[in-house]
């Protein structure tokens, strides 16, 4: 085999050291956004260069890597990142949530509960939960320093006044360890309770915005809410059409051009494991014609 021309896991050692130091500070100050000198990666920003850099800084030859994009192991983005680390770090890859030691994710938290020793790496587009309220970085930084989060509560309460409920469905803000308000990245708020008291270490990387933040294992994470309007999860009120799960986050799939649709688990590994274990949904009992031979 030819010797690779890139460093292990692509990044040079100086960059890894800088990112590693930022990760340690992020763990020590849960929910605080540590600035880091983000590097150009051989992929566009929208592909999660922050998450990729965090993964590259932690990954070792014994790791087993899973990459999901909106719950799926099979999107172009997920496959590309998996191949990238297979090639540059020679790590084993998997689609199994349970078997993975490092899981890089865009916009979902796996349904299967994570275990101690696992690391979940989030790709984050906009790390600053206060940005839409306050465009100036010096101001948001001051607000975090003083834990001045009144404006955020006002915004959420305005939602209630206008819509009768908090309209934020993704990137629903949380408070970490009773101190920092944090953006959980554009995960559906259905996933928010999984952030709390999680056995795995959660790391967040924002490439364009040059921020790394973290939630250590077993850390209290509370979704912002009000006594008279408590936080509620949301999912389509249907079982998964493929595996029958009634507790998983669902994607709505258009099945034909006549308005036909079905709901299936967004977490493909979760859904496939359930089907393999003998669980069925309405569509698996009456499969589409093109699947009739299966």
């Amino acid at each position: 085999m030819n010797a690779p021309t890139y460093n292990f896991a692509y990044l040079d050692e100086q960059t890894k050291r800088m990112i590693r130091r930022a990760i340690l500070k992020a763990i020590a100050i849960p929910g605080y956004q540590v600035p880091f000198a983000s590097r150009e990666m051989p992929m566009p920003y929208g592909w999660g260069t922050g998450g990729v850099q965090v993964t590259a800084a932690i990954l070792g030859p014994d790791d087993v890597l899973k990459v999901i994009d909106q719950g799926s192991d099979d999107t172009t983005n997920a496959i590309s990142i998996r191949k990238f680390f297979g090639k540059t770090a020679g790590v084993a890859t998997t689609t199994s949530t349970t078997d993975a030691t490092v899981i890089q994710t865009r916009h979902r938290i796996p349904e299967a509960s994570l275990h101690a020793g696992q690391v979940l790496v989030y790709q984050v587009p906009i790390p600053e939960p206060l940005r839409f309220l306050e465009p100036r970085e010096t101001e948001t930084r001051r607000m975090h320093a003083l834990a001045e989060y009144g404006l955020m509560h006002v915004k959420l309460y305005e939602d209630i006044a206008r819509f009768g409920h908090i309209a934020t469905a993704y990137a629903y803000p949380v408070k970490v360890n009773a101190r920092y308000v944090m953006d959980p990245s554009p995960t559906p708020k259905f996933d928010n309770p999984k952030l709390d008291n999680c056995a795995a270490l959660q790391l967040f990387g924002a490439g364009r915005e040059k921020r790394i933040y973290a939630i250590p294992p077993y850390t209290t994470v509370v979704s912002l809410d009000f006594e008279d309007h408590p936080f509620t999860r949301y999912r389509f009120n249907a079982p998964c059409a493929l595996c029958g799960a009634d507790n998983s986050y669902l994607d709505e799939i258009v099945t034909d051009d006549k308005g036909g649709r079905m709901f299936v688990c967004s977490d493909t590994d979760f859904c496939e494991q359930r089907q393999a274990a003998g669980h069925h949904g309405t569509e698996s009992a009456a499969p589409h014609k093109e699947k009739a031979h299966v």
């Binding site: 460093n7 292990f8 896991a9 050692e13 100086q14 890894k16 050291r17 800088m18 590693r20 130091r21 930022a22 990760i23 340690l24 500070k25 992020a26 763990i27 020590a28 100050i29 849960p30 605080y32 540590v34 600035p35 800084a57 932690i58 990954l59 070792g60 030859p61 101690a116 020793g117 930084r141 001051r142 975090h144 320093a145 003083l146 360890n177 101190r179 920092y180 056995a199 270490l201 939630i215 250590p216 294992p217 077993y218 850390t219 209290t220």
Partner: protein, 202 residues
């Protein structure tokens, strides 16, 4: 005068040793009180334990001012080794240090002499790397905080004996504060600024 030929080695494998050491430190920081092991082969200058040497080569470089206590600077060996293998500047002013290497923890200076970071940038603080007498035997320390499922028991021989009392300043300062990595031989234990002492015994 130490020549390069006499200089203790660095990592046997720079890239993979730094990676495995970092994961041990990351696991330690994510699970305060848990004892992690540094597995990498590393040379050590006189007075420096393997764990401390491995952490230095993993995290130190020209961007990280290093402060050495009297024990670490008793001979020029440690400073020379750090400069040669990590290009890390050794500074006399502890309040600007990214890391402080403490060889004689019994004489640990007052924590106020290190950087706590600012309210806006609490990450701009000094991380203390403290060599101790044991991380498996000695008095017990019951700890709680992020990273700990309920409580964690650490058995360790730590000087200064009032280290955890001193670190209680972190509770007042948070999010500013001091993170500590305890080292004995190839064992490491992290005490980030969020960790609190519940009880200690003999």
């Amino acid at each position: 005068m130490t020549t390069i030929a006499e200089m203790p080695a660095g990592f046997a494998d720079k890239v993979l040793s730094a990676q495995s050491t970092f994961r041990s430190v990351m696991d330690a920081m994510a699970r305060p009180g848990s004892v992690q092991r540094v597995a990498a082969d590393v040379g050590t200058p006189a007075g420096m334990m393997r764990g401390a040497a491995a952490i230095a080569l993993t995290l130190f470089d020209h961007d990280t001012p290093i402060w050495l206590d009297a024990a670490m600077s008793a001979t020029p060996d440690v400073a020379r080794w750090l400069k040669f293998h990590a290009s890390a500047p050794v500074v006399g002013d502890s309040s600007i240090a990214s890391f402080a290497l403490i060889g004689d923890a019994a004489n640990l200076p007052a924590l106020e002499r290190f950087a706590f970071g600012s309210s806006e940038y609490p990450d701009r603080s000094t991380t203390l790397i403290l060599q101790v007498d044991s991380l498996t035997q000695g008095p017990t320390f019951e700890l709680k905080g992020p990273g700990i499922d309920g409580s964690a028991l650490l058995q360790a021989m730590i000087k200064p004996r009032d280290l955890f009392q001193r670190l209680s300043i972190n509770e007042v300062l948070f999010p500013r504060g001091i993170d500590v990595v305890l080292v004995h031989d190839d064992h490491i234990v992290a005490i980030p600024r969020t960790t609190r002492l519940i009880a200690s015994g003999v």
